[in-house]
């Protein structure tokens, strides 16, 4: 099946391990479709949030709650982690396991830092009376931001197990697509956060 790929010999394209097998190509394409579905999922959560964000039912409003410095810090951390995952993939393309694992390790640490900030933020809000069950605003806020957060958590666990695999097996036709797909996922999470930063926090602070 991979035979007919060799027929279309492109002259000396850069060699990418992640797409060297049909399984790898399938995995990456399938993951793009999955990200398409995730985009719709988050779009629906954004829609719900936008419809309900003023339904505070007497609880604290978004202007009272949100503070720019902390959200900005979280944003910087997450954006940086996207960069480090790119460095990891560059390491993979240079067949350098150590570089790859190092940068993915940094990515995981940044992800954890982001999660720590988010948990701290949520605890603060709960102290101010902004809870999941307080109002429709609370429900939709925690569901949207929390879904993103649980995606970050999932990514952290996922990449950690991948680092273990990469450390055991190195960069192979089997592990390379996994790392590539994980980095796609991580960028996606980052893009979603950019939207959360804009739609939830910036919009919430000005209105």
């Amino acid at each position: 099946m991979s035979d007919h790929n060799q027929l279309s010999m492109a002259p000396e394209m850069p060699h990418h391990t992640e797409t060297s097998t049909l399984e790898g190509k399938n995995k990456i394409l399938g993951f793009w479709f999955f990200l398409g579905a995730e985009t719709v999922l988050f779009a629906c959560l954004f829609g719900t949030y936008l419809a309900l964000r003023h339904s505070t039912m007497g609880g604290p409003t978004s202007e009272e709650l949100f503070s720019l410095p902390m959200v900005a810090a979280a944003t910087v951390i997450l954006l940086t982690s996207s960069l480090t995952s790119v460095l990891g993939i560059l390491g993979m393309h240079r067949e350098n396991v150590k570089t790859m694992l190092f940068w993915f390790g940094v990515t995981v640490l940044l992800g954890l830092a982001f999660l720590g900030l988010e948990i701290y933020e949520f605890i603060e809000y709960v102290h101010e009376g902004h809870t999941f069950t307080r109002s429709a605003f609370g429900s939709s806020f925690y569901t949207l931001v929390g879904t993103h957060g649980s995606h970050v958590l999932f990514g952290v666990i996922w990449i950690t197990t991948l680092i273990y695999q990469g450390w055991k097996k190195g960069i192979t036709k089997e592990t390379a697509p996994k790392f590539y797909v994980a980095s796609l996922y991580w960028h996606f999470i980052d893009v979603v956060w950019v939207f959360i930063f804009t739609v939830v926090y910036l919009l919430g602070m000005i209105s």
Binding site: M1, D3, H4, L22, K25, N26, L29, G30, F33, F34, G36, A37, E38, V40, L41, C44, L45, G47, T48, A51, L52, S55, T56, M57, F132, T133, S135, A136, F137, G138, S139, S140, T143, T161, Q165, E174
Partner: protein, 627 residues
Amino acid sequence: MFIVAIFTGGYNDRFLERVRNHWLWDWLTTVDHKKIGIMYFLSGFFFLLVGGIEALLIRMQLIVPNNDFMVGDTFNQLLTMHGTTMIFLAAMPMIFGLMNVVVPLQIGARDVAFPFMNALGFWLFLAGGLLLNFSWLFGGAPDAGWTGYPLLALNQFSPGPGVDYYVLGLQIAGLSSMMGAINFLVTIVNMRAPGMTFLRMPLFTWGAFITSALLVFALPPLTVGLFELMFDRLFGSHFYDVAGGGDPVIWQHLFWIFGHPEVYILVLPAFGVMSEVIATFSKKRLFGYSSMVFAMVLIGFLGFMVWVHHMFTVGLGPMSNAVFAIATMTIAVPTGIKIFNWLFTMWGGRIRFTTPMLFAVGFIPTFVIGGVTGVMLAVPPADFQYHDTYFVVAHFHYVIIGGTIFGLFAGMYYWWPKMFGKKLNETLGRWHFWLFLIGFHLTFLVQHWLGLWGMPRRVFTYQPGYGLEWGNQLSTAGALLMGVSMIFLLVNIAVTARRGEKAGADPWDGRTLEWAIPSPAPEYNFAQLPLVRDVDALWYAKMNGKKGIEPAEPIGSIHMPSPSYLPILMAIGFFIAGFGFVMRAIPAAVLGLIMVFLTMFMRSFDHDPGYHIEPEEIEATEKGARA
């Protein structure tokens, strides 16, 4: 197996060996798309019978006015479960079954892109379906209608676990559809045989492709809606609860942004089946191939633009209603293109009225009636009249039975030889078709008038003296006739299994690639990948006087993925988690989720080298199959 091991005091090698060689273990762990397809189809068929029995009970209740056979809560449960079962547990899995068996064969692929995920998808669907139906036994079935509208679906109006079963069962089944859809998309994009360009793909594969694309984008809104409903019910959030600032109309949007494309998810594969069957049994190339493809793509696209026509009476205003009314009516154009192309294909063809062809031909007028009433409902002022009456019930049964179920039956009779190596009996098939067709129109044609005369849907009885009696009696009689027709189908399946004739590779004088390989298809599908030169590749080869399709490669060793017991284990984990949430037993739910994650880790670290089928073995299989 672990439990047995515990009871027998550790693993017994001989016992393990016997388990591994048992046919049941083979099916439980299979990653072969044809076997998975058969399992999807048969379990979908089982749920079709369950949903059918629920429908018969509903019709029995409505046979006379003021009947007290199934009233109140019981009726609501039947109604809800009938709709939910038919859409999610019968129609979709049966479609997935056909697609799983046929699509890789039609594009000349050895396997699907993700065999493991495919198996997982099937077991998840089964877990979700069983969880939903567990509700009959433990705590009462969902009773808020298959659309699960809040506020009705919230705790204060639907106490008890019924709606929780709905939420969690559908969530698990939805996961399964997402996996299936991604699998088909990648298979079709990446694994077509050499020469099989997109515009040479058989139309059933096109139907599968567009349906899968719709699923990828339509399921997430339902997922979000269900999650929000679950949070409202289980964790006290306020998405839909007006008292807490929520808005139930959000559910309606989310549900119908999924729900309307769902109609096309159900009907596009049926369109594909029709195109295959009508071309084969008219002995003609399908009229207007590329316009058929274009029409399908357009229908798929427009399917996302029309959800508000389910919400005309919500009060979103004349502007929004008008826009969505026009978008809805636009869909009639590509659908009309398809209908005329089928008619033109038959025109002047050498038509053979086999059972699949009968279902295909019966489909055309039936679906047209459904389409016409669809345009009637797309007019907002008229919709205010028809809303929530039996007119709507009649309309969507004409579309979904007239489209999907007729298509599924046509496809079932058509591809049965490819699935099991035997042709279903034609005489019994005819009985099935005629009784089903007559029963169907008897049941639902009259419901149009019942609706116009004011009979509301979802209500368990009606008063005498309003002229609704005879219509309801006809309708019930028709439903019974449909039930009888299904007995003919069951007998047919049993008779064929016991003493049906061997069908051979190409029993219908087919046109597409699946008929170029033995029936039932060997596990590697194609001994050599075919070289495709035209639409209807096999027909092209036959017309050029060739014995089979030209191969694109020499015979060589074929790599296959190994079977795995992880999919079923993961599905059990999901089932436990779902059941735990329904029963508000959070520790059990967490335990189930832990099981899911453990199996995920096992899969992640599991290095599957697969196995190879060597050329000698392939030659032996092929020889045995041809003889």
